[in-house]
């Protein structure tokens, strides 16, 4: 366990890693990093690194679970044993079970599952390194991987977590801010549709803080989805260039 820092801001109001309160960590999106998957993306938010792969639409292995009017979405959020401070057992934890669910529910509003009845679209997310914000980075990666797989989507989705540390709202909280802060509020949205698709709050906030935080998240998500689009465009060009 790391120690709780004495304070979360220096004398200039900067955060421990030098960022301002409404500043993202460097975001990196890499499309098509795997050869077998139908689509894939490697996304990093600072030291947080996740990889997402998409298979489908394909005939489901678990037949009993077929939906007659649309595709079933399957999501597995999983942390690599080496991704955490202490080695993590590979068996799925209750946290991973919950996160798989909320990530699925953050993508379902945008995937056009009605076009592929009786099929499965499988999304596998592996957290390679965890430094805060893994679920929101996973949503960004899954969205990009879905697009890379050519699966029709109403819009792209991106995610980011808002934190509250020393009573101040901060954008894209890192692990120390998450572990020792007062609140962690992960948000995902599809800016092109104006839709919030994930919302969780783990901590305490006034109503005003909740609104301020949500607005801060939505603005950042616009920029993240812009990055997604750019990465997808570049990846398409690459293919063309081959």
């Amino acid at each position: 366990m790391k120690q709780r820092p004495e304070k979360f801001f220096d004398e200039h109001g900067n955060r421990l890693d030098g960022r301002q309160r409404d500043e993202m960590r460097p975001v990196d999106i890499n499309i098509g990093v795997l050869s077998n998957a139908d689509g894939s993306a490697l996304v990093s938010y600072g030291k947080t690194k996740v990889i997402a792969a998409v298979y489908g639409p394909r005939e489901p292995t678990w037949r009993y679970n077929v939906l007659p009017d649309r595709a079933s979405l399957y999501v597995r959020y999983h942390m690599a044993p080496f991704s955490t401070e202490e080695r993590k057992s590979p068996a799925p934890t209750r946290r991973e079970i919950e996160l798989s669910k909320v990530i699925r529910e953050s993508l379902e509003p945008v995937v056009m599952t009605e076009l592929f009845p009786r099929t499965a679209i499988e999304i596998y997310v592996e957290v390679l390194q965890s430094d805060g914000g893994t679920r929101t980075a996973s949503i960004t990666a899954a969205s990009a991987a879905l697009a890379d797989a050519g699966i029709p989507m109403r819009a792209l989705v991106g995610g980011v977590a808002i934190g509250k540390v020393d009573g101040v709202l901060v954008l894209d909280l890192n692990e120390v801010e998450d572990n020792f802060g007062e609140a962690d509020m992960p948000v995902a949205a599809a800016p092109d549709l104006g839709l919030i698709t994930l919302f969780q709050l783990n901590g305490v906030m006034t109503l005003d803080e909740l609104k301020e935080g949500t607005d801060m998240a939505l603005k950042a998500i616009e920029r993240i989805v812009e990055k997604e689009k750019q990465a997808l465009r570049e990846s398409a060009t690459e293919v063309e260039a081959l």
Partner: protein, 280 residues
């Protein structure tokens, strides 16, 4: 693996139309307005062998909560606190939608949302549950059992948890010479210390409407639900969007405001249900 649910109750288009028509007139199929929860009935102390317990009926949804205190070890990073453990089971008797087996993603989500909404605002005074710092502490087991599921187990469960916690007594104990903690079985004990009370408020988004405390039909029709935790001051102490839909920013803020008012209704319902229970 989380999968798109397939065992969902089927609700006809006609029913959806009927329900939306009623909403337009500010009414619901079970004679409520859009922002009122169902009737609440609470019985505390139903499990004499537990340290605290409550049976809650929110409309036809029934939840029983049992609380057990045992001796354990504090977590390494909180040597001065007792240990809070929340577990819930959606037992198959409660609904044809539930299957036997270990907790599925829905039961895990319920446990974790309740857990966070208690833990983050420090609703339970965990500091009062340490026995010997870093070595011995009470483990507070909260077991939620959904017995009959007619929609909205979130709110019903948290009301049951609150009633059971308010009804919980921490046993007296003594230390043996060798330092062992011996619980005095039939001692009166002391009431568990609570710092604050918390409720969960679930709203469902159906069409353009936001309704409080959805019943099973409404949950089946809802695109999405928002579960918000409030304390008595109206501070938000937890949140979870659940379900496969999405919210526009406007809808979202509207749901938050509606929920905040409903939270105060729940606190009042809980008080009067507890009073009735004691009176009876």
């Amino acid at each position: 693996m989380s999968a798109t649910p397939y065992r969902t109750p089927v609700v006809s288009k006609v029913k959806l139309e009927t329900i939306l028509n009623m909403y337009r007139r500010g009414m619901r199929t079970d004679n409520r307005d859009l922002y009122s929860p169902r009737n609440l009935n609470v019985q505390v102390g139903v499990i004499e062998k537990a340290n605290g317990s409550a049976l809650v009926k929110l409309g036809n949804t029934q939840v029983i909560v049992g609380i057990k205190l045992g001796i354990g070890r504090p977590f390494e990073d909180t040597p001065n606190e007792g240990v809070l453990q929340v577990n819930s089971e959606l037992v198959p008797m409660a609904s044809p939608l539930f299957e036997p087996g270990p907790p599925d993603e829905n039961a895990v989500e319920l446990s974790r949302v309740v857990d966070r909404s208690l833990r983050d605002p420090k609703a339970v005074d965990l500091g009062s549950l340490v026995i010997r710092p870093g070595e011995k502490a009470w483990v507070l087991w909260i077991d939620i059992y959904v017995l009959d599921y007619d929609g909205n187990y979130f709110d019903a469960s948290m009301l049951g948890v609150m009633a059971a916690l308010m009804n919980t007594r921490v046993p007296d104990y003594e230390e043996s010479e060798s330092g062992e903690i011996i619980i005095k079985k039939d001692s009166p004990g002391t009431p568990l210390k609570l710092n604050k009370r918390v409720v969960l408020v679930t709203t469902a988004k159906i069409g353009n409407y936001i309704v409080v405390d959805p019943n099973l039909d409404e949950e089946a029709l809802a695109e999405s639900r928002l579960v918000l935790a409030f304390d008595e001051q109206g501070t938000v102490v937890g949140a979870q969007k659940t379900g496969s839909g999405a919210y526009s920013v406007d809808e979202f803020y509207r749901a938050v405001e509606i929920s905040r008012s409903a939270a105060q209704v729940y606190f009042k319902l809980l008080d009067s249900a507890l009073q009735k229970n004691q009176g009876g």
